[in-house]
């Protein structure tokens, strides 16, 4: 897994490339937890180059949602490939997280929300 954090004033944005499995989830979980503890309200996962995710990876998103949702924040998932989108569909998580075709559209959405539009 290759993990990159993209600087943004209103969100923690992580670009995840490769495989998100049991061996790589601790790294992402630690980075996400650090962001949440710093008070971020929007978490954006750019999965456009994600090749694999299992239930351990999904667990990080759920944990984040459980922390952010009561605070009015959200978990946004972008760019998932069709065969990974099926997993979100089957698990019902596509109705929990905000799903976007790409990172640009996700950023535009919460930027509009921040501006009260």
């Amino acid at each position: 897994m290759l993990l990159k954090e993209i600087d943004h004033p209103d969100a923690a944005i992580f670009h995840v490339e490769g495989r998100l499995d049991s061996s790589s989830t601790p790294e992402l979980e630690q980075r996400v937890l650090t962001s949440l503890e710093q008070g971020v309200k929007n978490l954006v996962l750019d999965f456009s180059e994600l090749e694999y995710i299992n239930s351990a990876g999904l667990r990080i998103l759920v944990m984040s949602y459980q922390r952010l949702h009561p605070l009015g924040g959200q978990v946004m998932v972008c760019g998932v490939r069709d065969y990974i989108a099926e997993i979100f569909d089957i698990s019902g998580y596509n109705r929990v997280f905000s799903m976007y075709p790409d990172l640009h559209q996700a950023i535009r959405t919460f930027a509009a929300t921040q501006n009260g539009q």
């Binding site: 499995d21 049991s22 061996s23 090749e51 694999y52 299992n54 239930s55 351990a56 999904l58 667990r59 759920v62 998932v80 490939r81 069709d82 065969y83 990974i84 989108a85 099926e86 997993i87 979100f88 569909d89 089957i90 698990s91 019902g92 998580y93 596509n94 109705r95 929990v96 905000s98 799903m99 976007y100 075709p101 559209q105």
Partner: protein, 158 residues
């Protein structure tokens, strides 16, 4: 379907055969080997993902719920790649665990699932057939995937 691969373990029909002698430490090597098997057999990305995820979640269950940990426990994974079907057999020495009937915490039709049951739920939904038996103090799970079935395309919620 059960025993199909068991009876052919020494023949050339079983194209993938991997034994985890320390399941909790060997799981990553197993998944890497399955990925290479899929590439070598020119399996589509979606099918490779499906195979890896099913095996990943079931082996995780063996370790987490079947206490299949340590050098005295083994998990064996065999895969047969046929023209229209892919058959996966997982045999483990852990505690009895039936993934076909183990209760799930919540029906996803009634809302998002608790994460604790998601792995098993995904396995059930991604397989076309799954059978479980308990023999010789071992769990045997045989899974069939229909290779001709079109992958579901999911429209993203915008």
């Amino acid at each position: 379907m059960h025993g199909f691969l068991q009876s052919q373990k020494d023949s050339s029909h079983v194209q993938f055969n991997f034994t985890l002698s320390r399941p909790e430490k060997d799981q990553a090597a197993l998944l890497a080997a399955i990925e290479q098997f899929g590439i070598k057999n020119a399996l589509p990305d979606a099918l490779r993902y499906r195979i890896g995820l099913i095996v990943d979640e079931l082996v995780t269950n063996c370790i987490a719920h079947g206490a299949c940990i340590g050098e005295n426990q083994t998990v064996q994974v065999c895969i047969l790649n046929k023209e229209d079907e892919l058959v996966i057999e997982i045999t483990d020495s852990g505690l009895p665990f039936d993934p076909t009937s183990h209760p799930l915490p919540q029906d996803p039709e009634n809302g998002p699932m608790r994460v604790g049951g998601v792995g098993l739920h995904l396995v059930r939904r991604l397989t076309d057939q799954m059978q479980y038996t308990r023999n010789d103090n071992r769990n045997h799970v045989v899974i069939s995937l229909d290779k001709t079935k079109r992958e579901n395309a999911c429209s993203l919620k915008k």
